[in-house]
Structures are given as C-alpha cells and as structure tokens.
C-alpha cells in the first residue's frame, strides 16, 4: 500500500534529518517562525513534502532563503509572498482562499448545509406522512407482501 509513498520518499530523499543544525538560526523566536513557515511550503520537486521535512537540495536552499528573509526583517507573510513570487502557488501546501480555490474551501460546509437541509426535510416529511399512513395505535399498516411474509414466518416451524 505504502510502496508508492515510500518509492517517492526514496527517489528524492532518504529519511534522514531534514532541517540541519547548521541551517538553524541562533534567535529561537526567528527560528520558530522559520520552522512554521517552512511547514507550509512545499518542496517543489518532492511529493507532498514540506521543505521542513525534505532532504532535497532545493528544500535546503529554500529553508536557508526563508531564514535569510526573516533575518532581513520580513514579516511571515512577506517571506511567503517572496517564495510564491518565484515558485508559484504550487509551493503553498494550504491553497489561498480566493480565485478558484473558494470552491475547495467552501464545498464541504456547503454540502453540510444542503445535506442538513435535505435531512431535516426528510425527517419532517416522513413524520407528516406517517400521520396519514398509520393504522390504529400509530403502527404502520402491513403491505400485502409483508402480510404474506409474516404468515410464512408464523407457519415456519
């Protein structure tokens, strides 16, 4: 099952350390920001790996680049924009809201609302329907088919 996942890991990077100690910044605050930015950026040549996890050379370069921008005083957003300007939206592991991606973000909540509406409608309709179809004592009437099966059942030893 995971053979495929694994093959890609193989092709691009052995599972050794991603962030190297030598890359890390001395300022723990800046380093923490660098890590959290890195986790949201995709390694452009990898399969679904962030630059924080990947051992590919380009991931290393991007990690260093992120840190350089942070040291230069960029905000988190500026750093991300800087990378996106050069590598495109492809590097964003979390697609931005807007443009065509609104469907990606809103489809599920919309489905929940529509589904909830249909379910509520179904429940209230089947309750009203039951008022007409129910026999004495609120029990549903048996259909011909069910009556036949019930009789067969009762005769069964």
């Amino acid at each position: 099952m995971r053979a495929l996942l694994v093959l890609i890991f193989l092709a691009l990077a052995g599972p050794v350390l991603a962030v190297q100690p030598s890359e890390m910044l001395d300022d723990p605050g800046l380093e923490a920001r660098a890590r959290s930015i890195s986790e949201g950026l995709r390694c452009p040549v990898c399969r679904n790996e962030s630059i924080d996890e990947s051992n590919a050379d380009i991931a290393h370069d991007l990690r260093v680049l992120v840190r350089e921008r942070l040291v230069a005083g960029d905000t988190d957003e500026q750093v991300v924009n800087y990378i996106v300007d050069r590598y495109g939206d492809f590097v964003l592991l979390r697609p931005r809201f807007g443009g065509s991606t609104w469907a990606l973000w809103l489809a599920a909540p919309a489905l929940l609302l529509v589904g909830g509406g249909i379910a509520a409608l179904f429940i209230s309709r089947q309750r009203r329907g039951s008022g007409r179809g129910a026999g004495p004592g609120g029990e549903a009437n048996l259909s011909e088919e069910e009556r036949r099966r019930l009789e067969a059942l009762l005769q069964d030893p």
Binding site: P21, G40, I123, S130
Partner: protein
Amino acid sequence: MIAELGHFALILAFLVAIVQAVVPMVGASKGWSDWMRLAVPAAWVQFLLTALSFAALVHAFAVSDFSVRLVAANSHSLKPMLYKVTGTWGNHEGSMLLWVLILTLFGALVAWRGGNLPPGLRARVLAVQATIGVAFFAFILFTSNPFERLANPPLDGNDLNPLLQDPGLAFHPPFLYLGYVGLSMAFSFAVAALIEGRVDAAWARWVRPWTLAAWIALTIGIALGSYWAYYELGWGGWWFWDPVENASFMPWLVAAALLHSAIVVEKRESLKSWTILLAILAFSFSLIGTFIVRSGVITSVHAFANDPTRGVFILAILAVAIGGSFTLFAWRAQRLAAKGVFGLVSRESGLVINNLLLVVACFVVFLGTIWPLMVEFVNGEKVSVGPPFFDLAFTPFMVLLALVLPVGAVLPWKRAQLGRAARPLLPAAVLALAVFGLVWAMESGRSLLAPIGLGLAAWLVLGALADLGSRSRAGKVSAGETLRRLANLPRAEWGKAVAHAGLGLTFLGVAAVSAWETEDVRVMRPGDSFTLSGYTFTLDAVEPLPLGADFHVDGCTAEHGLLGLAGIFGEEGARNFSTDLGRFHVDRDGTRVATLCAEKRFYPVQRMPTTEAGIDMGFTRDLYVVLGDQQQAGGWAVRTYVKPYANWIWLGALVMALGGGLSLTDRRYRVGAAVRRPRAAAVPAE
C-alpha cells in the same frame, strides 16, 4: 514449475469467476434453483484456486526463485525470512493477488455462512462478488502477471525496499485489504438488494457484521500504517494527509457511516436507500483508493503515463462499478420504502447527523486529494493541497461529530425529549467543560487546540461511561445490581461504548501530541548532553556495526520496531545492512529513565539509508531520538522529540477496533448466523 501451477490456478479462478458471475444471476431472475445453488461450490472453488495461486507466489518468494521476474525485482537471498514472505505483497503484482485472495475469501465465507440467506439473495450476492472478481482477475492476468518468468535469471535479487522491511508494514497491507475488500461484501449485498428491490431488517442484519468486520480491519490497518510512519520515517509524524493515506481513510469514514446507518435499517426499517447508497459509496472509495495507489495518478499526472494500461484498466473497472451501481440505484432505490417513522429528536436523527458529518468529512478528504488533479486538468496549473489545508478543513467536522456523539448515543429510538434523555450526561458535560477550562488556564490561552481536543476527549470517554451507567441504573440501584445489569447488557451496547471511548482516546493523543510536542535539533559529540522538557539526553557513543552483524544489540531498553515485534517475528540473525548505532541515555531529576539506541542503517543492495528511531514508549510520553548524518566538523546531527501521549492515538484506534469486535459478537449476529431462521430474528427490537 510451481510458479506455472500458480499461474494456471489463477486462470482457472478467473474462468470460475466468470461462471459464478453469470449462472447464479440468471438462475435468480428465472427462479431456477439449481442454477442459483451453483454459486456456493463456485465460490469455494474460486477461493481455493486463488489461495493455491497465492501460495505458489509465496513459495517463489520464500525459496528466492529469481527466475520469476517479480521475485528478482523485489527480493534478495540475504533478506530475513519474515521479509521474504511478507515481500510477496510488498509490490504491485503481489499486492493485487492478495487483493483478489481476500475478495474470494469473503465470497467463500458467504457461501459457508450463508445458509440462512434467502437463496435468491445469496445467489445474487455471490454473483456480484464474482463480477468484481472477474474484473480484478482480468486486471492481474492481462496487465500485472506476478508469475512472469525471466529467460536469464539473475544470481540475486534487487531486494525489497528497506523501508518496507519492517513488521509494521509487513502486516499493514493484509489488514488494509481485509478492510478495503471486506467492503465489497456490503457492496454486493447492496447491489443484490437493488436488483431484488427489497431491503429489510434481515438484510441489514446480514450486511452489518460484514461492514463491521471490514471496518475493524481497516481501523487496525490504518493504525499500523500510521504507527509505522511514526517510528520508521524518522520525524515522528503520524499522519501526513498523503494521497495514499487518504485513499485508506476515505473508505474508513464512509464505512463508519454505513455501519451506523445499517443499525437504523435493522432496528427501525428506515434510511434504507441511504444505507444502500453508503454501501455503494464505501466500496467505491475502496476502488478509488486502489486506483490512486496503483496508478499513481494523483501523485502526478506523469506517473500515469508510466503505466497507462494499468491506470486505464482500473479506471475502467471504477467507471463500470461506480457508474453501474449508481445507475441501478437511481433506477431502483425508490422501491425501498421506509417503514419506521421517527421524530426530530431521536436516535435515528442522531445517526443521520453522524452520517452527514462523516460523509462531509470524507468529501473534504476526497476534494483535497483530487483538487490538484482537477485544477491541472482544467487549466494546466499546478497547485498543492497539503496537511495545513486538511488540518483546517477536516478538523471542524470531527469537532462537531464529537460534540453531538454522546448525546446521539443516549437518545432513545423513535422520539425523545432532549432534556430528559440527555440528563445522565450532565456530569460528563460538566467534567469535560472543567477539563477544557483547566487545560486552557494551564496553557495560559496559548492555543485552543489542546483545551478543545482534551475537552472533547473527556466528553467522549465520560459520555460513553455515563451511557453505560444510565443503562445499568448505576446509583439508582445497589452496586451488585448495577454490576449484574452491566454484565447483562447486550455486547452491542458495550461495543458502542468502548468504540466511542476509543475515539475519545485518539482525540486525546492527537490533541496532546499536536499541542505539546517539543523538538530539538543539534549537533552532538559523544559525551554531550542537553535537556528537553525536563529530560536530559546524553549521547554515549556512536558504534559502527558491519553488514552481517547480529540483529540483537545489547543495552537498549527501548524495543525495536512495532512493540518489539521485529525481534519476535524473525528479525534475527545477520543484519542485511550496515549500521551506525547511536547510544543515548535519558535522565530525569537524576534518575535513569531509558537507554535508547537510534540506528542509521544503510542497505547496500538498494543503496539506501533508513533510520530506526530510538523510542522509549510510555503512557504519558514518548522519548524519540533520531540519529542523523555525521557532520564534517565532527559530531552527529541529532533530532529529539518529547511527544506527550503519542501512543494514545493508536491505543484509541485499537480500542475502537475492540469495540467493533465486541459489537460483532453480539448475540443477535451469532444467533442470526447460526440458526436457520433469520426472519424470526428480524423483528425490530423496539
């Protein structure tokens, strides 16, 4: 010779499947009972032939018959026997053979235990099952023949991917396939019911155990895979929202919805067509998962071109199975009239909400998984949808699910008053809120993740306890009476409570490890130490072990591999790789907590390094050390984590599976299966 026998058996199984797909189906529609009865021996023969074929392949791997192309490409004579055997399914062809083996196994099980099914239904179910079989036998025989020979066999093989040489991954595929393919049973029952135009309580009682069994296997399979990723890939992540993982998670979500809605059909004869739809959906997602994994299409469009025949073939199966069953559904579903009627506040409504949330959650995963493909198809742009999206888009539905779950679980059938029904939950709600507040205060409002996650975990676990408590009238009757009542509760009630509590435990693990994990990356020389979250880690030495050294290493308290299973299941003798063994010891407040061995392995055949993290597992935390590369300036890169409550993630999954197992042993299924009077047991329990 043996490989040829396997190949021949597979061809015979294919032919038997064709007969089994046609004859019983015709017989059922014409009412010819001898044609219908043919399904039973055919299912047996099909299974035995497939098992023979599979055994032949296992044999080829076990004796390292490198004249078989598959063995030469995926095995090696020096590999431990365990991985020779499990390597059978560590590749495309072998895993597809395992797929059909399990498919035919389920068919044989229906033939065996299906004596109490109406003959027409049984014939149709087995015919549908065989139709799926025909498609996959053809797929294997025409595009992925595992028994292909090499004219010039090599002296030795290419070895199995080292990352797969691990007990966690050796047993992950069989469980996953039991789950995937087990859902074919629900599918076959659904299609057969649509053809017959009849769904009743007896039908649901038949389908639910199969679904439950499949779901249990899927739960264990996913947990194994996740645990493997945790300790083997070397950065301690346990879920990556990778397309391959999502492929197994989507059927799990739908199967969870299905086994809940099947209860409504069984007890209340409502939600029939919805349940049929879920049964079709669940297996459709299994097929989609197989397609995603086997074709590589989601990874990148280019991988598709690597093997267009296989991708196209599975896509064709997918189109026929999903398209056909949905067409059938659209055509016949309205014949399935509901009988039971329920109010807006009722167990049924609770289960509708459960279904809705699980299906929408599955939809999020599905959309996120195929979104890059869709965008590239539409306008050629390349976009990514990664973990940050899924975390944000998926989690809210799980939060909602956890919020309503304990309430839905205590509501009575038909109609209820919310206030009165939910009263037993009041203490659980108060305690869960207290947990939320306490964690929030402790964290000083840093992030909402931990308080919400832990509060929900408490709500789920305590809610399950409160449910058991109120059903046994705890506190209202004597303690002895309560115990007696608890012991007499149906197993299904226990299963429900245990599985729901298991979900709570998983919530606990996920929230705690996500919010409180600490990490350290540094260069260490032997003798160096540092402190992380109160634990002092010291690197004692890094020893090189040559190729062929013994698997067993003295002086490591932490077990290697999945709960030490690697040692138990034959990972012994000579190492088929060279090793750098990093020895660490960990102290807390001056006392020795653990001695850890973190390995960096190098597999010479595939020229590939892997890491074996040194993990000290505990109920409250895992200590996790990874040995990285040797640095040019001396010393070794070392990455260390303290992961609070990490094991609860998988513990929760196992408890969920255990709950499913308890439910599976409920009296009504045993009676229903053993006694030839299914209809007598089919009266709603209300």
